[in-house]
């Protein structure tokens, strides 16, 4: 029973990681940039979620507003920060991205204060007993449910619409896509919008589970998500999902059974290094 619960907790954490890391994979696939500042958008999404919920009382509205606004901010980040750096060596964009992320933490602190914000009436507290002694918190059910819905919509969009097809074509082979008359610039904007919106959704969900948003809440996401997309094989969407779940589940069991040997982060990275030594191209990466 405990194992099952830990597995479930791993899946919850994995779902959150997946939502965050997916945007990172999309950006990497398109631009070959390790977009650390993605974690800042996750934090922004969480702040917006709490602020709008507290103002209107509607979590649904807050999630929608948060996703749209964060998505637009993501597009602006691309336009203002990354586009000019595209021809430069990749670590330039990486350092620029890290700088943006650090700056974002400071901006959140200066605007919203160092203590962070909470929902005044935390929604969805409580749990549901699925069967004898097996519980799931409402928040966690929402995390898993919403992740499945969003990832399915994304999957459907990319497989069944003109938009999605041109998007995938661009990720696979930008020059070919250009030859087929796809407007790469639009695809990039779309990419940043969707990735950032997903991160915002993850932010709202995390805020719900913790009932706390704070300036530094993106710090774990900033490096863990990088580890996940590398583990998945850089640029592979399916690999990212698998890696996110793997890391979530390893952390879940590790926290309980290996916590006195290695902390959560160290465990995740130990796993990453092990995998890369055996498969240098990541779990599902192409050689």
């Amino acid at each position: 029973m405990l194992y099952l619960e830990l597995l479930l907790q791993g899946i919850v954490q994995g779902s959150i990681y997946a939502l965050i890391a997916l945007g990172l994979t999309l950006v990497y696939g398109l631009l070959r940039i390790l977009h650390v500042a993605h974690a800042a958008l996750f934090t922004l999404g969480a702040y917006l979620g709490v602020i709008v919920t507290n103002a209107t009382g509607s979590l649904v509205l807050a999630t929608a507003v948060s996703m749209v606004v964060t998505g637009v901010v993501g597009m602006a980040v691309y336009k203002l920060a990354y586009e000019p750096l595209l021809g430069k060596p990749p670590f330039i964009a990486l350092i620029a991205s890290i700088a943006m992320f650090i700056a974002s933490e400071e901006i959140f602190r200066i605007i919203f204060g160092p203590y962070g914000l909470s929902y005044t009436n935390p929604p969805l507290q409580g749990y549901y007993e699925i069967f004898g002694g097996f519980y799931l918190k409402y928040g966690e059910m929402l995390v898993i449910g919403l992740s499945i819905v969003m990832l399915s919509i994304l999957g459907w969009l990319s497989g069944n619409t003109r938009l999605g097809v041109s998007w995938r074509a661009t990720v696979t082979d930008p020059s070919m896509a250009r030859a087929f008359g796809i407007n790469i610039q639009n695809v990039r904007y779309l990419n940043f919008f969707i990735g950032s919106a997903l991160a915002a959704a993850a932010g709202v969900l995390v805020a719900l589970l913790n009932n706390l948003v704070e300036p530094t809440m993106g710090s774990v996401a900033s490096y863990k998500a990088l580890a996940i997309i590398v583990l998945g094989g850089l640029g592979s969407i399916r690999g990212t999902l698998v890696a996110a779940m793997a890391i979530g589940i390893i952390e879940s069991f590790g926290t309980i059974y290996l916590g006195h040997i290695l902390g959560r982060d160290a465990l995740a990275f130990a796993f990453l290094i092990l995998v890369l030594m055996v498969r240098p191209q990541g779990l599902l990466g192409a050689k």
Partner: protein, 282 residues
């Protein structure tokens, strides 16, 4: 005066540390997001040995050797992965290092090691010693850059597949870069332990690794004097801009971003371009 002495000593240690990464990332093109781990090995070595009564000077070679040994291990591992995979692997190394150190009681666990004795140098003597080591490594870097080894490093940083086709044993050279760079970082760690007389697991993490990489890139990757100037400046910048208090990290990050956005080739690039412009005019 002690305040200036502390600042100059800190600068010297940062310069040595940044140049040690420059040897790996700047010269040989191997990006590392985990360089602070090697400084940590050196710092913990010196701290633990001095606690056991070994004089400071005697701990430095041990720190260098241990850091270099870990460097070889990471170097061998890094031969399997490239570019962004390498960056994240090295990032993993620093998380693993911190995670392991945290659990070691003989290294003080979470508490770290404090109350490290002062060296027999005295403060000015120690400052001079740090300056000397930083300068010595800078000269060594310049010599290597001019040698055939530097030539080979250039080719590996440029395109390692081509280097192989030209008959160069890329792995061997990469390992050398790792050993030299990590051993020097170990020495920087020794100095760090002596400077602050305290080491803890949080002093050698991912943030410190990113900061030192930022020094290398702001200086102009591969440029010895550029990196040295950037390291000296950036290391004391948070203290210099205490007057903006609440905003100092914001200022720091904004500066870093602007540098990448408008002058990605670093200080060295800015100077080279200005020199060219002046020459053209005259």
């Amino acid at each position: 005066m002690a305040y200036e002495i502390t600042l100059i000593t800190s600068m010297a240690i940062s310069v040595l540390f940044a140049l040690s990464l420059n040897f790996i990332t700047g010269f040989c093109g191997q990006i590392s997001l985990g360089h602070a781990a090697f400084m940590g090995v050196g710092a913990y070595t010196t701290a633990a040995m001095m606690k056991a009564g070994v004089p400071f000077i005697a701990t430095i070679p041990v720190a260098a050797v241990l850091a270099g040994c870990l460097g070889v291990l990471v170097g061998i591992a890094s031969l399997r992965v490239r570019h962004d995979f390498l960056a994240i692997t090295t990032m993993g190394v620093v998380f693993l290092f911190v995670g392991i150190v945290r659990q070691q009681d003989f290294l003080g666990g979470e508490i770290g090691i404090s109350g490290i004795q002062a060296s027999s140098f005295g403060r000015i003597g120690f400052m001079a010693f740090c300056l000397l080591l930083a300068a010595a490594f800078a000269v060594f870097s310049l010599v290597i850059k001019r040698s055939w080894m530097g030539f080979v490093f250039d080719s590996i940083a440029d395109n390692e597949d081509v280097s192989r086709v030209l008959g160069i044993d890329v792995s061997k050279y990469k390992l050398i870069a790792f050993v030299v760079g990590t051993a020097a970082a170990g020495v920087a760690g020794s100095l760090y332990a002596q400077q602050f007389r305290f080491v803890g697991p949080d002093s050698f993490g991912f943030v410190e690794s990113v900061s030192v990489l930022a020094m290398v890139i702001v200086g102009g990757i591969g440029s010895v004097w550029g990196v040295a100037v950037a390291a000296a400046g950036l290391s004391v910048m948070p203290l210099m801009i205490q007057f903006v208090d609440d905003y100092k990290i914001l200022v720091y990050s904004a500066l870093l971003f602007s540098m990448m956005r408008w002058a990605p080739d670093g200080l060295a690039g800015i100077v080279n371009r200005s020199v060219k412009r002046i020459r053209r005019r005259s």
